[in-house]
């Protein structure tokens, strides 16, 4: 197990941040953002020359911004989407992000994009395939790619590696960074019956550049990554462990549905400070028996400003 090591690929610890969401645009244009940094969903600003880009331009002038994508489809067996990567790079030229991240997943195949973060069979074949593509992407973007562990709801029988092993080997082969989503570890751990603490202890801590925290939903037989609730105690506990092992990395609260007013969002991410002092908030995992619970990791924003 690694001891404290603050390498982070040489990238800075930005402190506490939140996602830039259209609901808070007008607030942020008139008020101090309070938080240290922002994460954007890249796809919401690619080819967008409307109000969203205007707000982004303002935010990027006063705070560090990180670009987080959902459509790179690193694991797909389709050819790399070079148009997408070109547009991503154009956005990066505009935003000047501190880093660019996406997920260890695939979003579709045969030119279909399901707009979901689909799990890979964790095999040597997949590892070889993903490592090749990460290397190509890093060459195109001319910077390390930061990859996030997704929440998953199924495992393939053919998998021969654990996700932490897969990620460790991927880091070895590509030099990519990791975005450790401790909520996703919690969700997948519950869904597949592994120990989330063991997972977090066994990833390469020096390569962790960023942490995500979020609130999932307990759908009785499985946990769903809904990003629509306060962060539960169990996730904060994993966060505490991850910060201890990494020596401290940028922290971002994800909240994509049922989004609270901005001050409440800020208060939620600031709980991280208390957690690091050992004071864990007492928050149960949100439970529901509703059938139409949806995980919307893409946070679509059709923000027409017609008010």
């Amino acid at each position: 197990m690694d001891t404290i090591a603050t390498n982070r690929l040489g990238l800075p610890n930005l402190g506490l941040g939140v996602g830039l969401r259209s609901k808070h645009y007008s607030h942020l244009m008139q008020n101090d953002p309070v938080v240290d940094w922002f994460e954007i969903i890249s796809e919401n600003y690619m080819n967008n020359f409307g109000y969203g880009r205007h707000v982004l331009s303002h935010i990027a002038s006063i705070r560090p911004v990180v670009m987080h994508g959902v459509s790179m489809s690193v694991g797909s067996t389709d050819p790399l989407n070079l148009d997408y990567l070109k547009q991503l790079k154009q956005l990066a030229d505009f935003v000047n992000p501190v880093w660019i991240s996406d997920h260890l997943c695939w979003t579709g195949v045969a030119n279909i994009n399901t707009h979901d973060l689909l799990p890979l069979p964790l095999t040597v074949e997949s590892l070889h395939h993903v490592a090749n593509r990460v290397n190509q992407i890093q060459d195109i973007l001319q910077r390390p790619l930061i990859l996030e562990n997704p929440s998953t709801y199924l495992e393939f029988e053919s998998s021969t590696l654990h996700e932490w092993e897969f990620l460790s080997e991927l880091v070895n082969r590509t030099g990519c960074g990791l975005l450790l989503d401790v909520n996703n570890v919690f969700v997948s751990g519950f869904n597949h019956g592994f120990d989330p603490e063991f997972y977090i202890r066994n990833i390469p801590h020096k390569s962790v550049v960023q942490i995500h925290v979020a609130g999932p939903t307990d759908c009785d037989t499985y946990l769903l990554d809904t990003h629509d609730q306060p962060v539960p105690t169990q996730v904060w506990k994993l966060y505490q462990l991850a910060q201890e092992l990494t020596g401290g990395v940028s922290t971002l609260l994800e909240w994509d549905a049922n989004i609270p007013e901005y001050p409440e969002l800020v208060a939620e991410v600031q709980k991280a400070k208390e957690v690091l002092k050992g004071r864990l908030p007492n928050v149960p995992v949100y439970r529901t028996s509703a059938v139409d619970v949806v995980s919307n990791p893409v946070n679509h924003q059709m923000q027409a400003t017609h008010e």
């Binding site: 967008n48 020359f49 409307g50 205007h54 067996t77 994009n113 707009h115 037989t221 017609h306």
Partner: protein, 279 residues
């Protein structure tokens, strides 16, 4: 085909295909010569099929949410059940292929138009089927105007207050984010009511000339007079003020002098809404 490719095609086909989960899985198993319970590891709590269902259900719900966000007025007009039926059929016919969700609803108006019944009974029927198509076109137009390149970085400070167009009409251009729609129903009030959370009145058919535009990041949409619409339309196609005046006069059978006199009064309004600007 590599094993990874096969697995990805198998799972994608189950997720995007319509129908009952069991049928979808059986068809994919047959086609790709796989057995779902040998591909997906079951757990104590969930079978392989139940695990796949989390993804197939999530796919539809997520994309429904996205299209709902783009077409709130159409959703109101059709009612959620019928709206969802159309969206689901649309997603089956045209599964998303763009990394950008903004493109997801792009072909929805054309899809609605194509799904109108081929054999129609009366003119009234035809019109009633056209109402949702018109509304979808209008809402897509609003979505596009909210994102495309606009005037925000082009208008010079104080340009609104200048009146040089009286002397130099060659400086007048249409905004890059101006969109003109010719509809069979006046829909401006309907859409505005939905946006304001009011109960909208179903419009009766009537030729409607609409423009959608953005200025200072505010979206405007208005009903125009036919001659105003034709003038903007001509000017948009060819940036020549006098030619646009003459064409408009011909199309609307209005004397050129009248159009010119009316434009002197109306151009400042068109500038203030950002339909046109002075280069």
């Amino acid at each position: 085909m590599s094993e990874l490719t096969t697995l990805q095609k198998w799972l994608t086909s189950i997720i995007v295909r319509p129908g009952m989960l069991d049928d979808k899985i059986r068809l994919a198993d047959e086609y790709y010569q796989l057995k779902n319970d040998k591909v997906i590891r079951p757990s104590l709590r969930l079978s392989a099929k139940q695990k796949i269902e989390i993804y197939s259900k999530g796919y539809i719900l997520r994309l429904l949410e996205c299209i709902e966000a783009e077409y709130p007025a159409l959703n109101k007009l059709l009612g959620q059940n019928l709206f969802h039926t159309f969206v689901k059929a649309y997603l089956v016919q045209l599964p998303p292929n763009s990394p950008d969700l903004y493109n997801l609803g792009e072909a929805f108006p054309a899809f609605l138009k194509a799904s109108q019944p081929q054999t129609t009974h009366s003119d009234t029927d035809v019109l009633m089927y056209n109402l949702p198509v018109d509304l979808a076109m209008f809402e897509r137009c609003i979505a596009e105007v909210s994102r495309i390149e606009g005037l925000e970085n082009r208008i010079k400070e104080g340009a609104d207050n200048q009146m040089p167009y009286l002397f130099n009409t060659t400086a007048i251009y249409t905004s890059p984010c101006l969109k003109l729609l010719r509809l069979q129903f006046p829909l401006v009030d309907f859409v505005q009511s939905v946006y304001n959370d009011l109960e909208p009145e179903i419009p009766v058919t009537q030729d409607s000339f609409v423009c959608v535009c953005r200025k200072n990041y505010r979206i405007n949409f208005h009903e125009l007079e036919a001659w105003q619409w034709h003038f903007l339309n001509r000017l948009q196609n060819k940036p020549n003020y006098m030619a646009a005046v003459i064409d408009t006069a011909t199309i609307c059978s209005i004397p050129t002098d009248t159009i010119m006199a009316d434009l002197i009064l109306w151009i400042p309004v068109a500038i203030s809404f950002g339909y046109v600007y002075l280069k």
